[in-house]
Amino acid sequence: MARLGSDTSVLGPSTRIVGRVTGKGVLRVEGSLQGDLDVSGDAEIALGGSVEGNVSARSLDVSGSLLGDAVIEGPVTIRSGATVRGELRGSEVSIEPGSRVSVKLETELELSLGPAPRRR
């Protein structure tokens, strides 16, 4: 029996969870989570929302606050107004100016900028 949006979860603005959140589906955090988050779908920390813990998800979109490490399959987007501190790993990490970050990006990236060949 398909439920409309049954795989979408929302933690409302006045909701606080202390503990782990895991499972399938999409999660939008408008309130606060103190603990780890591990979902198969997209995770969003809305403006005003906060997560203090590690996050694992298919994608991550932060407009609120994240204090913890994130290991994300797909893209990580940090929007202006967000506050993020921790290590981020994603297929791509984009940061909007206006955000406050202190993060370590573990992007898969190698540059081959060896010494320029001298032309003879």
Partner: protein
């Protein structure tokens, strides 16, 4: 539209506190407290004490339930635990085992 919805595939292990409506389709183990309505949808499985302004149970709950307003167990719903509420209904087809205090 504010409100908290714990979708079907989600599991929470810990304490959830809220001031808004909480609808649980997934799993919760720990504690659920809200100053607004709490409803456990069919398919929701909760192992926790629940305190809400009102509590409606269509899924499975193991734990004590209290509400200043009312507690209702819907058809197909199941509660094992004590109930404290001024109004309490058990629908035909619901299951219930526990003590009841209707603050008489």
């Amino acid at each position: 539209m504010s409100g908290t919805v714990i979708g079907e595939g989600l599991s929470i292990e810990g304490e959830l506190t809220s001031e808004e409506e909480v609808i649980i389709h997934g799993n919760v183990r720990g504690k659920v407290t809200s100053s607004d309505a709490v409803s456990i949808a069919a398919g929701g499985i909760v192992q926790a004490d629940i305190a809400g302004h009102s509590v409606s149970i269509a899924g499975q709950v193991t734990g004590d339930v209290s509400a200043p307003d009312r507690v209702d167990i819907q058809a197909g719903g199941r509660l094992v635990g004590d109930v404290k509420a001024s109004r309490f209904t058990i629908a035909d087809g619901a299951s219930f085992k526990g003590a009841v205090d209707m603050e008489v």
